[in-house]
Amino acid sequence: MDLQDLYRDVIVDHNRRPRNFGKLAGASHFAEGYNPLCGDKLHLFLEIKDDIIRDIHFEGEGCAISTASASLMSEAVKGMSRAQIAGLFATVHRMLTREGAAKDQDLGKLAALAGVREFPMRVKCASLCWHTLNAALAGSAAPVSTE
């Protein structure tokens, strides 16, 4: 159990200074993630045009893992199509749950989250934003939870 592997510099940095943080005026899609046991809350705003995510913002409160994960995700998916996001979601999911050996270079900065899989209780923190993104893309109104 290596703490440095969980709280890598990239994670700590994105927790301290989350990117794309705040509401998004004129968002075309929205979804809410909420893990009531943790208290992690996430509001995700998307602006989608021609099937491409033109902009993405999030706000909420949560632990370092959930905040950094949402921040890293927001950078990664900007400019992607729905199909590209579906592929990335699957890769991230494999990385977090060790179902397959996702190569770190496939994931860029998102690979910083690989340490989470050594901390099973924290996987739900890292995955909350991704499930919320799926809900936003699907136009689902019900809040998402990964608990």
Partner: protein, 414 residues
């Protein structure tokens, strides 16, 4: 197990630690520092052995067979009831109902006492710092009967406001249900004053004693409450067993809660005669080994003495409060003048779950989250806190380890 003074003349803690097998284990390469006692306390070997002996030697159903094992199991089970009676100084074992735990006890009272009596417009009074298990059963009862839930406010220290409480007691108040000690903040209620005020008005009283029984001696006759509920696993016993104390006169007036075996005297399709107290409220085969384990936990606590435990834990509380105060950005939530041995806190800029993970990496077990007291969290404007809660076997050295691990978390995450 003789109490030889170590700290403040209270307990020979290092020797007592040897009674708890789990305290010898390592967690993530460090000796376990178990500071989550308010969630569940560890069991001494005598409790573990008593439970195991039930399975190895005496296992049978109770109150039924004429064979030797059934008689032994019944004798052990009823001896545990007598220990529980003595532990809280109830007048009779008829007043000691074995339940799964505090939660079940409160639900039993809500459904078997409250539901037949309450009418639309009647009122139930609880405090703002209750555990969900002393909120939700009353909300369900309100939905069923049209009764209304009234909540006594707390102040910024986490003290329940006595004047507001008195003002809330009115002609329609039927039940007052209060925690003896808050699980999330550690506030000790001046419970006798609260009970006296209700009793004067003829209001039924219930005390949620889950957090009190491991820390101070409880005397239900001195308290003069109608119901007192507690769980074995908070007081170094097994999970899945607890006690509902009920004043005999009131238990007698209550209809059964669940139907089944053991709670009847005779059954025919024309009708059923219910068993006497306390068996009327114990339908089905009970948690026999659990009750025996509770009895062993009571023996263990009584041999040490609740007053010695209280002294030691007060020392730990004072030490922890002073030690954590020098950490930058740390704020203690819950600063009542009369507090049990726990410290709930937030650290600026660091989420409790990250703190919990850092502490765990150093073998330190704490609780992080809302502690099943979401209204308390809402009142203080925090989603969650970190809670270190101490028991009879904790040491100042473990609090030092907590302090150092918090420093590490601050340097890593802030």
């Amino acid at each position: 197990m003789a109490a030889v003074p170590e700290i403040a003349g209270a307990l020979d803690v290092l020797r007592l630690r040897g009674d708890f097998p789990v305290l010898g284990r390592m967690v993530n390469g460090r000796p376990l520092a178990y500071l989550d006692n308010a969630a569940s306390a560890q069991q001494p070997g005598t409790v573990i052995d008593a439970v195991a002996a039930c399975a190895k030697t005496h296992h049978a159903n109770v109150h039924r067979g004429v064979h030797t094992l059934s008689q032994e199991a019944t004798a052990l089970f009823e001896a545990a009831r007598e220990k529980a009676r003595r532990f809280i100084n109830a007048a009779s074992t008829a007043e000691i109902v074995f339940v799964r735990g505090t939660t079940e006890a409160i639900n039993l009272v809500a459904q078997a006492h409250g539901r037949p009596r309450l009418q639309a417009g009647d009122e139930i009074v609880i405090s703002w710092l209750e555990h969900h298990s002393n909120i939700v059963p009353w909300q369900i009862l309100c939905q069923q009967t049209g009764a209304l839930l009234r909540v006594v406010p707390i102040d910024r220290r986490g003290v329940v406001d006595f004047d507001s409480y008195q003002a809330l007691l009115g002609p329609r108040t039927r039940i007052v249900a209060l925690a003896h000690i808050s699980n999330s903040l550690g506030t000790i209620l001046p419970i006798r004053a609260f009970l006296d005020a209700a009793r004067k008005r003829g209001i039924t009283t219930l005390v949620d004693g889950a957090q009190a029984v491991p820390h101070l001696s409880v005397d239900v006759r001195a308290l003069d409450c109608d119901f007192y509920a507690f769980s074995a696993h908070k007081m170094y016993g097994p999970t899945g067993i607890g006690v509902l104390y009920g004043r005999e006169r009131i238990l007698e007036s209550m209809p059964p809660w669940q139907g089944g075996g053991d709670m009847i005297l005779s059954v025919s399709f024309a009708g059923t005669t219910y068993n006497r107290l306390p068996h009327r409220f114990e339908a089905g085969t009970p948690n026999i080994a659990g009750a025996v384990g509770l009895g062993a936990a009571i023996d263990y606590l009584e041999a040490i003495g609740m007053e010695h435990i209280g002294l030691h834990e007060r020392d730990l509380l004072g030490y922890a409060t002073a030690r954590l105060a020098d950490l930058p950005g740390l704020a203690i939530i819950g600063t009542a003048p009369d507090k049990s041995s726990l410290v709930s806190f937030t650290v600026e800029g660091i989420h409790p779950h990250d703190l919990g993970t850092v502490l765990d990496s150093r073998g330190i077990a704490v609780r992080t989250g809302h502690h099943c007291a979401m209204p308390v969290m809402e009142y203080f404007g925090v989603p969650a806190t970190t809670r270190a809660s101490f028991g009879l076997y904790n040491t100042r050295a473990e609090i030092d380890a907590l302090h150092d691990a918090l420093l590490r978390a601050i340097s890593l995450l802030r």
